[in-house]
């Protein structure tokens, strides 16, 4: 089955040839139309290229401006800035390790929760739910993306944090918290706020991003592929797991990156529920901080070296994202290679 399934990423070589002007296919040099077509094609291609380069320019510009803005701290303090977890605006000593740690942990929690949840939603909306229910439910879930992030923050602060404090935290502390090793992750006072709460709120925020991309791409799977599998007696689950998911894998991963990107950079929602302490604690129930919430918290009042340190944090977020995405791609490539050998 697998060989017969075109992977969206590795499209047959024929298409790489598309970048040639089409006019060569319509071999009639004297034909005006083909000449105009060729010119239009070149023009079109040029415009598209410029647009793509704009993306490049935006990212490079933003990254370089943070590098420039944070130069005093990045080049002045060097490794100390990366390795230290001390953050002291009064004495102008800054270390970025606590925010980096918080960013990575909360995003990881968010992805671990959001990916299976989104997959379930996409599965439900493309295969399980009755037809008339699919569009309304899909629109409703997309609406989760429309809620401003400050509202996630306020809802988290006023409603979800007390809920976590009253129900989830004590439960975790008395069950998972008792386990050896893993237990350390779930022990702590029932404050309600902290890394876990922030991770859950992030997960809710990125579910609509991941699930709507998954749903869209699941729908693009040619019906004949699914139909033939059903005809062979496959169950719905088997069709989705063995046919739909491999066919759309590249795009699904794209959707996950979309969510991961949002989780890494999300600010307001996290700031209100994370506890904002420059601490490194093993427990997910304890407060922490993140790169973007540190910036959002302190930027408005910061001057001098303090401001430079915050902009340098912004640059570090670019670096952290770069590294995270690079690792993710490596993992995918090795996964692909394994599949190729099998």
């Amino acid at each position: 089955m697998k060989e017969g399934t075109p992977h969206s990423g590795g499209v047959p070589g024929f298409f790489t040839g598309l970048s040639m002007p089409i006019a060569t296919h319509v071999a009639d040099p004297g034909n005006d139309r083909s000449r105009i077509d060729a010119r239009n094609d070149a023009l079109f291609r040029g415009i598209l290229r410029v647009c793509a380069l704009l993306v490049l320019a935006a990212l490079l510009g933003a990254a370089l401006s943070t590098l420039w803005g944070g130069r005093e701290v990045l080049f002045g303090d060097g490794w100390h800035f990366l390795a230290s977890s001390q953050w002291n605006p009064v004495e102008n000593r800054y270390g970025a390790w606590a925010p980096i740690y918080g960013t990575l942990v909360t995003s990881l929690i968010a992805i671990v929760i959001a990916v299976p949840l989104s997959f379930g939603i996409a599965l439900c909306l493309t295969e399980v739910a009755p037809l008339w229910l699919r569009t309304p439910v899909a629109t409703a879930i997309e609406l989760l993306a429309a809620i401003p992030s400050i509202i996630y923050g306020m809802w988290g602060l006023f409603v979800f944090v007390p809920f976590m404090a009253a129900h989830v935290d004590p439960m975790l502390d008395s069950t998972l918290g008792r386990l050896p090793f893993v237990g350390a992750l779930f022990r702590g006072p029932p404050l309600g706020l902290g890394l876990l709460t922030a991770g859950i709120v992030l997960a809710i925020m990125i579910v609509p991003f991941i699930s709507s991309v998954m749903r869209e791409v699941f729908q693009t799977v040619p019906a004949r592929l699914k139909e033939s599998a059903y005809a062979l007696g496959s169950t719905t689950w088997e069709v989705v797991w063995d046919i739909v998911l491999p066919y759309t894998r590249q795009a699904v991963i794209g959707g996950i990156f979309l969510g991961l990107g949002r989780a890494l950079g999300e600010t307001m929602a996290v700031t209100f529920v994370l506890g904002n302490a420059y601490d490194l604690s093993a427990s997910l129930l304890m407060p922490g901080t993140s790169i973007s919430s540190s910036i959002a918290n302190e930027f408005n009042e910061a001057v001098g070296l303090h401001r430079s340190a915050l902009i340098a944090l912004g640059f570090l977020l670019f670096v952290v994202t770069f590294v995270v995405l690079l690792i993710a791609r490596r993992m995918l490539r090795s996964l692909k290679r394994k599949e190729g050998n099998a």
Binding site: P89, V90, L157, L193, A277, P287, N297
Partner: protein, 339 residues
């Protein structure tokens, strides 16, 4: 090419049209969020009276200082005064605008609002993480007759840089050598203990939710949102209830006359009735403005506000400046600023 030129010309004309539209008697200020409600209220009334729009946005004191230096706004507003050197370097002047108080806010089972008494030492001890229990002797001796629980204290501070934190830590630095040495003062500091809430709403929500916690918020916020607040023993040794009279007493007894450019922080004021954590926000302007017409509107606005805006300030739980101080400010305008 000619077409390109035509488009460029059209864009230019459009831009010119828009800019004429945009500059119709609007003046702009930016900075401290502490004064946002009262400046907005004053601005609305001033607009009704004069037709001039004073557009103030709270982007933070640091932002306000940066923007006035960059020349993108007509005035800045900061919870922390600039020193003479910095004012001189950029050709800026500053003056106070309105007064408010900061109160310790708490949530202790069985202790109603206004019943707990603290002094500078006890407050510093709690926020240093040295006093960790509510029944600690240092708190008990200030509160004879009050039954304090044997419970761990959770400290809540502001996570965002803020003038509120600046005045709070400035006060603690004045009253506790230990605090001054270990933490110091600033809009953001390295807190020895506790959790951080964003904004007044963040701190008050955490204090309300977490039992046996203590934080600090603007008085108006505590009052309007039913958050328990503590009484404080002031520099004169008297226990004071926070309120407009106590804030005004702090402003009146502060030694403004000898403070060049009003560079004076009102915390731990000497007056017998003075609330110890009282704060103001400074308005910062160019002495020789680039845009003289706008600058004139700003002066008109603050002159009107300081002389006639008292009732509206009180409505929003701010305290207007004492009359003597207003006179002093107006004299400062005459001598320092070019109109």
């Amino acid at each position: 090419m000619t077409q390109f030129r035509r488009i460029a010309f059209a864009l230019g004309v459009a831009a010119a049209g828009f800019s004429a539209f945009a500059t119709a008697a609007d003046v702009t200020g930016a900075g401290s969020s502490f004064v946002y409600p009262v400046l907005s209220k004053w601005s609305a009334t001033f607009a009704e009276k004069t037709g001039n729009h004073v557009n103030y946005q709270s982007i933070g004191s640091g932002g306000g200082i940066a923007q006035i230096k960059a020349g993108t706004v007509d005035f800045g507003a900061s919870d922390k005064p600039l020193d003479a050197q910095e004012l001189g370097k950029f050709g800026l002047g500053q003056f106070p605008s309105v007064i408010g108080g900061i109160v310790p806010a708490y949530n202790i089972d069985g202790v109603e609002s206004g019943k707990l008494v603290l002094d500078g030492d006890a407050l510093a001890g709690i926020f240093l993480g040295k006093i960790t229990n509510w029944n600690d002797a240092a708190i008990a001796k200030l509160n004879p007759g009050l039954k304090l629980p044997d419970a761990k204290i959770t400290v809540v501070h502001r996570s965002d840089g803020s003038g509120t934190s600046f005045n709070f830590t400035n006060y603690l630095s004045k009253v506790s050598a230990d605090w001054k040495a270990k933490v110091g003062e600033g809009t953001a500091v390295e807190w020895p203990t506790g959790i951080g809430g964003k904004g007044n709403e963040g701190v008050s929500a955490y204090v309300k939710q977490i039992k046996n916690s203590i934080g600090y918020v603007e008085y108006a916020y505590a009052l309007k949102n039913n958050i328990g607040y503590a009484l404080m023993t002031n520099a004169a040794g008297k226990t004071i209830k926070p309120g407009n009279a106590a804030f005004q007493a702090a402003a009146a007894t502060a030694d403004w006359a000898h403070a060049a450019d009003f560079n004076l922080i009102m915390t731990n004021a000497p007056g017998a009735e003075a609330w110890p954590i009282t704060a103001t926000t400074w308005v910062i302007m160019y002495k020789q403005p680039k845009n003289a017409a706008n600058s004139k509107v700003v002066f008109d606005f603050f002159k009107w506000s300081l002389e006639h805006g008292q009732a509206q300030a009180l409505e929003l739980d701010y305290v207007p400046l004492p009359e003597a101080l207003v006179k002093q400010i107006e004299a400062y305008w005459q001598t320092q600023f070019k109109h």
